[in-house]
């Protein structure tokens, strides 16, 4: 088996792809919206409930590649219950991780969260797949900014 492939598709990614967490839709969301990557056809739908500046609940569904699905799944586990402030930090950290040459430490985030995010660092070596990983995060951010249903595109 090719080593590059195993670095990209780490066990945790394959596992989340196969058994996504928080899959589905929540009832009575305060925010919802769709993200779409027209290049490969990734499409995810996020529903969430924000109360007291905190994401009380979040689910996602949709058709997408393993990278996107795992990223969505891991994202929901990280942001569920988190204050919006921390969501912002996570978003920035993730963005940096996927676009900058070498990011070893992500400041101001719990070590467990850092570790989960860091498994996406190798996606950087597959530039064409970066958007697959960032789509859920971009979608979440857009959805949070605007409780009205909207479509987000990574193109």
């Amino acid at each position: 088996m090719n080593a590059e492939l195993q670095r990209l598709y780490q066990d945790l990614i394959l596992e989340h792809n196969r058994y996504p967490r928080n899959y589905g839709r929540i009832e009575n969301p305060t925010h919802e919206g769709e993200g779409h990557n027209p290049l490969c056809g990734d499409r995810i739908f996020i529903t969430l409930r924000v109360q007291e500046s905190r994401i009380q609940d979040i689910k996602f569904e949709g058709e997408s590649c393993a990278i996107c699905k795992a990223s969505s799944s891991i994202m929901t586990t990280l942001v569920k219950g988190a204050p919006l402030e921390e969501v912002d930090k996570l978003f920035l950290a993730f963005h940096e991780l996927l676009t900058q040459e070498a990011v070893c430490h992500i400041h101001g985030l719990p070590a467990a969260s850092q570790e989960k995010l860091r498994i996406f660092a190798t996606v950087r070596h597959f530039p064409i797949r970066v958007k697959c990983a960032t789509l859920p995060w971009h979608t979440l951010k857009a959805v949070l900014n605007d409780p009205i249903r909207k479509v987000v595109s990574t193109e």
Binding site: M1, N2, E4, L5, L8, Y9, D11, L12, L14, E15, N17, R18, Y19, P38, L39, C40, G41, D42, R43, E63, S64, C65, A66, I67, C68, K69, F126, I128, R129, C132
Partner: protein, 417 residues
């Protein structure tokens, strides 16, 4: 079949890129021919020769190089005209590619032919190049596309086609071969139906022209487009066939040098076809190299070989691919060109694409510029392996083996973690 394979192996020597190693150290297996074909040395050499020996601008020069360049460029037009069976080389226009070709026709028809509310009958398998140009027209002059479904196997459905034709139909515009499914649309039959309906017919021959000989007069069609880069020629060149007298009827697409008779400040008069449609400096070296590609195909490969061997490869691939667990092949109807689109249950095409790439195998994954077809098939994307006469059965074996490996790789089970 062995003699086929021997021939194919011999022909591979004409394509320097095929003996390249992939980034990963694997042997490169190029199965993305429907996106663009690789170029034989003769074609590359033709570009080189032109720029080394004959380069000049054409038509307006009395000097030797310019006359030589003109002779070669116009010679290329004659070659293409013969290749597609046009009645005259004046019916052949050089453009950048099929996409520009359809836009040229669409904008011309917008100006002198369409009426608000007109309908264009297409198949569900059209490439965006035969959809979006009509949307651009429709923004200025309301008209609509009427897609005709295929049979479940992707075959042509004559009844459905007949039903789609109505008094509002003003054009039939169909692909002769789907770039996603490989299935063929019987152009002659469709042209007959169009003729009976009293409307012209445009054929997107991008894929068809690569896989079998064609004759525009036998087809009985009005407009044909295709791209050079898929026909083993260089990028930047394509062909529009405008059956006489459409070239007279359509207004020029672009204005500029070489397409005029005279120019004054407030008015200009146009040159006769084909110049009328070739404003400015055309892709000179590219047209000449396209003619070389045509000669290569006819003289060194031969249509008989291409058709027989590609049919063999198509069957071989079908059998091979069907052995992959969870695979669905789209477009099993015949006749079809050597193109297979498929999906694998539970694995997104994009992941398969990356996986295969790491094995040195180039396939295309995505919507293949045919989103409405994806919707019709009910899939977000497919994986497409498109073959050329230089592909080998062992490359198909490698594809099938890698797909099986991918299935294992992505069926992560809890026990693994």
């Amino acid at each position: 079949m062995d003699s086929f394979v021997i021939d194919a192996r011999r022909l591979r020597a004409d394509f320097p890129i095929l003996s390249q190693k992939h980034l990963t150290g694997n042997r490169l297996i190029y199965l993305d021919n429907a996106a663009t074909a690789q170029k034989p040395s003769r074609v590359i050499q033709s570009l080189l020769n032109f720029f080394h020996l004959k380069n000049a601008n054409i038509h307006r020069g009395v000097h030797w190089l310019s006359q030589e360049a003109t002779r070669l460029y116009e010679g290329a037009r004659a070659e293409v005209a013969r290749f597609i069976g046009a009645a005259s080389e004046r019916e052949v226009i050089f453009v950048r590619g099929a996409t520009e070709g359809i836009n040229l026709i669409a904008q011309g028809l917008r100006r002198v032919y369409f009426q608000p509310g007109d309908e264009i009958v297409v198949t569900v398998a059209e490439h965006h190049a035969n959809i979006v140009p009509w949307h651009l027209v429709a923004q200025e002059l309301p008209l609509s596309l009427k897609p005709v479904p295929l049979t479940c196997e992707g075959g042509f459905d004559q009844e459905a086609f007949k039903q789609a034709l109505s008094s509002r139909t003003r054009l039939v515009a169909v692909t002769a071969m789907s770039n996603v499914l490989g299935i063929e649309v019987p152009v002659k039959e469709v042209a007959d139906l169009a003729r009976r309906a009293g409307v012209p017919i445009l054929v997107d021959a991008c894929q068809a022209v690569v896989h079998h000989p064609l004759n525009v007069q036998e087809w009985g069609v009005d407009f044909v487009v295709f791209s050079g880069h898929k026909l083993y020629g260089p990028t930047g060149i394509g062909v529009v066939y405008l059956r006489h007298p459409w070239g007279e009827k359509l207004p020029p697409y672009q204005g500029g040098g070489d397409m005029i008779r005279w120019v004054k400040w407030n008015e200009s008069a146009y040159a006769p076809v084909p110049s009328k449609f070739e404003a400015g400096t055309p892709p000179i070296a590219e047209a000449i190299a396209l003619a070389e590609a045509i000669r290569y195909i006819e003289e060194e490969v031969g249509w008989d070989f291409i058709q027989a061997y590609e049919k063999y490869l198509t069957d071989y691939a079908q059998e091979s691919l069907q052995s992959v667990p969870g695979i669905t092949l789209y477009g099993t109807a015949r006749p079809k060109g050597a193109i297979w689109s498929f999906s694998i249950e539970g694995i997104h095409p994009h992941d398969i694409g990356t996986f295969l790439d790491q094995m040195g195998i180039a396939v295309r994954v995505g919507h293949h510029c045919a989103q409405p077809l994806m919707e019709w098939l009910g899939v977000p994307a497919t994986i497409r392996a498109s073959l050329a006469f230089y592909n080998l059965p062992e490359e198909i074996d490698a594809l099938a083996a890698s797909l099986k490996e991918a299935v294992r790789f992505f069926s992560f089970t809890a026990s693994q973690s």
